[in-house]
């Protein structure tokens, strides 16, 4: 019994996989990171400059108010309050993301990008949403195994190395996606709003839907109820179907619908884009049966 659990655990987390499997998630996550960095640029002075709403003084007070130890919110930006420093940080972040997207510099560039990103998320403080922790986690997983550089693809087409770090990175990405969707749908069901089929109305009424408005939904209770219930069902179905090899393709398709729910039915478009990028890691699992496994060893190793 114990040995079976250990073998299952080992298979799940440490199965060697082709490092090429990280290519698609890396491209998606790093291109998303370019967009994420760029999204801060237009308002950098108004929000984070010395005269901005969340300048260093106010942000420090927010952190003190929450009784957070200042070292836990580490960031070099605390010492450089100027607009130039903040804008430069964003531009360098964009450049690092693009370089990491190409696969240049491997783990070293990915690790620098990871630290660069954490430093910025600490600086923006109360403006953080669900997208920032997920982006940081994804970059950490890609630091474990970033996959091949784009110019190495043709060269390694016939034989790409199978490493346990690639398997671990894929497992962490897919597990993290699964946990976030599960946490999201369970949190939704903590409110009667979702059980009663009203949630979509409230999103629209509060201006928190990217495509729905009260004008579209008004007087159409069945549509509101139906959309809300479909949102919940799709999430549960995606979680179930994507977990099994035989139904994974369908699960990935429903995972895309989940992204539409988060990004368009609600207003979390950045979060939805990043979830979609992470979802691409499941495609690697679809191709598993085609992978050569070099050698074998008994379960009781």
């Amino acid at each position: 019994m114990i040995s079976e659990i250990v073998a299952g655990w080992t298979q799940y987390w440490f199965s060697p996989r082709s490092s090429r499997m990280l290519l698609l998630p890396r491209l998606g996550i790093c291109l998303f990171a370019v967009l994420w960095w760029a999204s801060f640029l237009p308002g950098v002075a108004s929000w984070y400059g010395p005269q901005g709403v969340l300048n260093i003084d106010v942000t420090s007070k927010l952190i003190d108010f929450q009784e957070i130890a200042s070292w836990q919110q580490w960031s070099p930006l605390w010492w450089f309050p100027s607009i130039f420093a903040h804008a430069s940080w964003l531009i360098v972040g964009m450049m690092l993301s693009f370089v990491a997207c190409l696969g240049m510099g491997g783990r070293a560039v990915m690790a620098v990008l990871l630290l660069w990103t954490i430093a910025w998320t600490h600086r923006i403080s109360w403006m953080e949403g669900p997208v920032e922790p997920l982006l940081v986690a994804c970059l950490a997983y890609l630091t474990i195994e970033p996959g091949p550089a784009v110019w190495q693809l043709r060269k390694n087409q016939q034989h790409s190395p199978h490493t346990w770090t690639a398997g671990l990175a894929v497992a962490l990405l897919t597990t993290h996606w699964w946990l976030l969707i599960a946490a999201g749908v369970l949190s939704q069901l903590a409110s009667l709003t979702w059980w009663r089929g009203e949630a979509v109305w409230w999103l629209a009424a509060a201006g928190r839907s990217n495509i729905l408005s009260t004008e579209m939904l008004s007087g159409n209770a069945s549509l509101v109820n139906g959309l809300t219930h479909v949102c919940v069902v799709v999430q549960f179905a995606a979680l179930g179907l994507i977990s099994r090899g035989s139904t994974r393709s369908l699960g990935i398709g429903l995972g895309l619908v989940v992204s539409v729910v988060y990004g368009l039915i609600a207003d979390q478009i950045l979060y939805a884009l990043l979830l979609t990028a992470v979802l691409s890691a499941f495609i690697a699992l679809l191709a598993k049966r085609q992978l050569p496994i070099s050698g074998a060893m008994p379960v009781r190793a």
Binding site: Q51, K61, W126, M127, G129, S191, A206, A301
Partner: protein, 236 residues
């Protein structure tokens, strides 16, 4: 959780590949995986309304979770619960010399001037901040942080518009419920926003001090006291 290409019970009886890490490496990495995922599950579970135990656990895990930006704290992973914190606040200013009822809405980057349903990748950022301001205003309406934040909006607005202000406030616009819509459909009400007054969450009068310093004087309760602008920011 996410099984391989075959059913999970088949996996454990299958052979494992030889190019695995050593048993020692597997043990160390396994411990790290368990710690990381356990911390993630705990912070996700404690996101909205942590229990006493969850609060203790997240406090204990804070050095790891916060330094790595994995601390979930009232993040809207549930999308909406139709509670007040799910409805973004708006910021309004009162220009000097204007009638008392004449308030102008802030048009800062990323702050939706109204619930217009347009697609903006930055659109969810202000609601994140607004959510915490609302929580703070409900739990600690006397908090100086509210005055600090509103003062920063005032400074930013005056720098942009060059219009002197004498008042500012956070307001919560009325959000029509699903029941309101059902009543309107039955001819027993309407969904006209102008017929409803917004809820004032925090309102303050702006007083000019020496050397361009501004003071925010909260107007809602008499017990609130004047709050000086941090660092004495000079306003042109």
């Amino acid at each position: 959780m996410v099984s391989e290409g075959r059913d999970s019970h088949e996996l454990v009886t299958d052979s494992l590949p030889a190019n695995l890490p050593t048993k020692q490496v597997r043990s160390i990495v396994s411990v790290l995986i368990v710690i990381h995922l356990a911390a993630l599950v705990i912070t996700l579970a404690a996101n909205l309304a942590p229990s006493y135990l969850q609060g203790r656990l997240t406090d204990a895990l804070a050095p790891y979770l916060r330094t790595t930006s994995q601390f979930y704290e009232a993040f809207p992973i549930e999308l909406t619960h139709a509670e007040s914190i799910d409805f973004p606040l708006l910021v309004e200013f009162h220009e000097t010399g204007e009638p008392p009822s004449q308030w102008r809405r802030a048009d800062l980057p990323g702050v939706l001037a109204s619930a217009n349903g347009s697609i903006d990748v930055r659109g969810s950022r202000w609601p994140n901040l607004s959510r915490l301001i609302r929580l703070l205003a409900e739990d600690q309406p006397e908090s100086e942080i509210l005055a600090d934040l509103l003062a920063r909006f005032v400074v930013s607005e005056e720098l942009t518009s060059h219009q002197p202000l004498d008042g500012a406030r956070f307001i919560a616009p009325h959000v029509f419920s699903f029941d309101d819509d059902l009543l309107a459909a039955a001819g027993q009400g309407s969904l006209v926003q102008g017929e409803w007054k917004p809820e004032i969450i925090y309102q303050a009068r702006i007083v000019r001090g020496a050397e361009g310093r501004i003071l925010l004087v909260p107007e809602q309760e008499s017990m609130r006291t004047a709050k000086p602008m941090p660092q004495g920011v000079a306003v042109p």
